[in-house]
């Protein structure tokens, strides 16, 4: 199958990206001049620019738009203000996840959803299936390019070419119709790296101009960053990734996302199953662990206790900023407490690990 390309494809060639097939998209895993580790440190220390145009976007409009989204997602969007963003899982009736997404509220009759690239078609079909009167849905994914500018220097760089005071955009808020280097954008203070930063949505035909304008404005402080570092950054900051920490067969409660599951809402898809699970306590839970033996934990490796299977690694790897081999594992609840000695099976051999809490990266305030 022919790979899909984002509007920023010419930039990946120009900046010498190492292109890979990422779920059907031709995207850079890293740039040849830097590589994953250098790109990771660049974002933690300075700033990095990502092409995340593969993400899906859905416009939800109409009198009943709010009621519809409220039924679709597990978080409570009724208290969301105009220009505010919220994160939420979206569940099946059995509590498993269809996806996790961001809800942008433009107005009471217009919401904008940002969903995972690989789930775009599935999510849109799910939404259409549950559509109610007074709502129109549109998959507008191809109408937007999305760039992420992340890192401690992101604000200063963007401010130098932006017509809006970025200090006025707080964490998980956005502004539509902002001009960046004269290019019309929607800017939110959101991201997937554990750093301060912004995500910018713009028209595909201006995407390359915006990319170049940001790199020029941040010359010496910003570099293009590939998907490899996007994954190490999100993992090190313990941000969930659909298909790993969340999935069709994993509920948000098992992934410890309780604060995004508002069982006090009157109704939403999956509420009954999740309320039952909350009451009984999940049989499996996500737990942090650090390798104490020599080895790197990887997704899907088995976790054991005294030779017995207790679950599997959802994400794992070398955490570059912390310099440790860390993992997240979905294990039987009795082992999901800190200080538990467990084994991770690496190439058929048990390697020692210890569960913990607060092992992952948190941005210094």
């Amino acid at each position: 199958m022919e790979l899909r390309r984002t509007p920023l494809y010419p930039m990946h060639l120009k900046y010498d990206g190492n292109m890979i097939d990422f779920g059907g998209w031709e995207l850079p895993v890293e740039y040849k001049a830097t590589g994953i580790l250098a790109e990771h440190h660049q974002v933690r220390r300075k700033a990095g620019l990502f092409d995340v145009s593969h993400m899906g976007e859905v416009d939800i409009r109409g009198e009943q738009a709010g009621a519809f989204v409220q039924e679709l997602v597990t978080n409570d969007i009724s208290t969301l203000k105009e220009n505010q963003v919220c994160y939420s899982p979206m569940c099946y009736p059995d509590g498993g996840c269809v996806d996790d997404l961001l809800v942008y509220k433009h107005s009471r009759d217009h919401y904008f959803l940002v969903i995972n690239a690989a789930n775009t078609d599935k999510d849109f079909a799910w939404m259409q299936e549950h559509k109610i009167p007074g709502v129109t849905l549109e998959n507008v994914s191809s109408r937007y390019a999305e760039l992420a500018l992340q890192g401690p220097l992101a604000e200063g760089i963007l401010q130098s070419i932006c017509d809006t005071d970025l200090k006025e955009i707080n964490y998980y808020w956005f502004r539509p119709r902002v001009k960046v280097a004269g290019i019309d954008c929607l800017i939110s203070r959101t991201g997937y790296t554990g750093e301060d930063g912004f995500e910018l949505f713009t028209s595909p035909d201006r995407a390359c101009d915006l990319w170049e304008a940001i790199l020029e404005a941040g010359k010496g402080a910003v570099l293009p960053i590939g998907l490899g570092a996007r994954d190490t950054l999100r993992f090190e900051a313990k941000m969930p990734l659909y298909g790993h920490e969340l999935d069709k067969g994993i509920t948000p409660l098992e992934a410890h996302l309780d604060r995004f599951v508002r069982l006090d809402k009157p109704s939403f898809i999956g509420k009954e199953a999740l309320a039952r699970q909350k009451e009984k306590g999940p049989e499996r839970l996500l737990v942090e662990f650090e390798m104490t033996g020599r080895g790197i934990p990887r997704a899907h490796y088995e976790a054991q206790k005294n030779g017995q299977n207790i679950g599997w690694v959802t994400s794992g790897g070398y955490a570059p900023t912390l310099g440790k081999n860390l993992g997240l594992a979905l294990v039987k609840s009795e082992y999901a407490k800190p200080g538990e000695e467990i084994d991770i099976i690496i190439r058929n051999k048990p390697v020692k690990a210890r569960t913990g809490q607060g092992l992952f990266y948190r941005r210094p305030k």
Partner: protein, 128 residues
């Protein structure tokens, strides 16, 4: 991409430097480049006997896990233990950092390996 003239090369992008009946084995510049940032090396045990093509260790980069094979048969007489603490030196100096040393049991196997010139052509083809 650097390729040294005085070494033997395998299809799996390993190099062999011969000193008497000892074979020093490492990974090529091409291999380290394609793996990306190397963060973990698992070395074979000294005394271990291996046939040509066997897996003798593992090299892990941030994103990938790769088996390390021996291009020749023999017994491990030494390993480069410094790599356990500093695996990234494989990225910086792939030809200066051997992974293991084998006492060859069948030096004739060297004839099946590629010369630097052949390996250069092999890599160019792989890139197409």
């Amino acid at each position: 991409m650097e390729i040294k003239a005085n070494l033997y090369y395998s299809d799996d992008h390993e190099w062999v430097r011969v000193e008497g009946d000892l074979a020093y084995i490492g990974i090529t510049d091409y291999a380290q480049h394609h793996l990306g940032d190397i963060v973990f090396v698992e070395l074979p045990e000294i005394g271990g006997e291996f046939a040509a093509g066997d897996t003798i260790g593992v090299i892990e980069s941030v994103k990938a896990v790769a088996d390390m094979h021996t291009p020749v048969s023999g017994t491990i007489t030494a390993v480069n233990e410094a790599l356990e603490e500093a695996p990234e030196t494989l990225n910086k100096d792939p030809y200066g950092q051997h992974i293991a040393v084998l006492k060859m049991s069948n030096p004739d196997e060297l004839k099946k390996l590629m010369t630097g010139e052949q390996y250069t052509a092999y890599c160019e083809q792989a890139e197409e």
